[in-house]
Symmetry: C2
Subunit: 150 residues, 2 copies
């Protein structure tokens, strides 16, 4: 799966990603970076609406799991369970959300647990940036469930 395929998937299946103007800048094993412009995400202060910042961060965090599980040929349903978001600075233009999984043991444990129990939890972090300055951070817990539980 390359970044164009991921972008097309997001726009087709999560229409809000299109409404927010989300572009996929990077999507590989090492990380996902999404970009969104100010205009569709603006608020009454002419900065990015917190709900948009949060939604793009959630997408970036979900997408790194989606990309990795696709590469591992693991079929599952991913559900977000909780998240925290910290807004560090107002965002006055195009912004990016970048997720990565630096903790290899946590990833290996997530895969092993899912293989054994058809249920596993992992925490994913993402950072928001604007003009290469960090403007916010996100942390969320996702659960992988077997498709059979649909």
């Amino acid at each position: 799966m390359n970044r164009r395929e991921l972008e097309q998937y997001l726009h087709e299946h999560i229409p809000l990603s299109r409404a927010m103007g989300v572009e996929v800048m990077k999507a590989d094993w090492n990380g996902v970076t999404l970009r969104a412009p100010l205009a569709p995400n603006i608020n009454h202060r002419e900065t990015v609406f917190g709900g948009s910042a949060s939604a793009v961060a959630i997408l970036a965090a979900w997408a790194i799991l989606y990309v990795r599980l696709h590469q591992e040929h693991v079929r599952c349903r991913l559900v977000i369970q909780r998240n925290t978001m910290t807004y560090e600075r107002p965002i006055a233009s195009t912004f990016e959300a970048s997720s990565t999984i630096q903790d290899s043991p946590a990833w290996e444990k997530f895969l092993r647990t899912f293989a054994r129990k058809n249920l596993a939890r992992i925490s994913i972090a993402a950072t928001l940036s604007c003009h290469e300055e960090q403007v916010g951070k996100f942390e969320g817990d996702f659960v992988a469930l077997t498709m059979k539980q649909d």
Copy 2:
């Protein structure tokens, strides 16, 4: 300010609220309830995208402050500082986010602190519901700043 005025304000100044189909069902001193349909907020599982759920909750929490400060004739800038969101159940249709401020002393302290320091912080909770069942909860910290700091 009535609910139609708040809805018009949101749609004009925060275009994502319009893209999400947000309607204001209630907006008074005691609470704000926003409603959003599934279609513009759907995800790849045909339930509500977590980013939409979170964004509507943020709006509901911000709006109760906006409504109350308007009634108190307090002019200030409101900034979200952090939030947590818990997704308790998948949301498979139209959903609502309701905010309220039950803690009167916290509200009074917020007003007094802002009057004295031109800077005050308050924590606001909101619940998400679908068919009158609770499906998620939100808690966020907002800061009021003097307009002069713009």
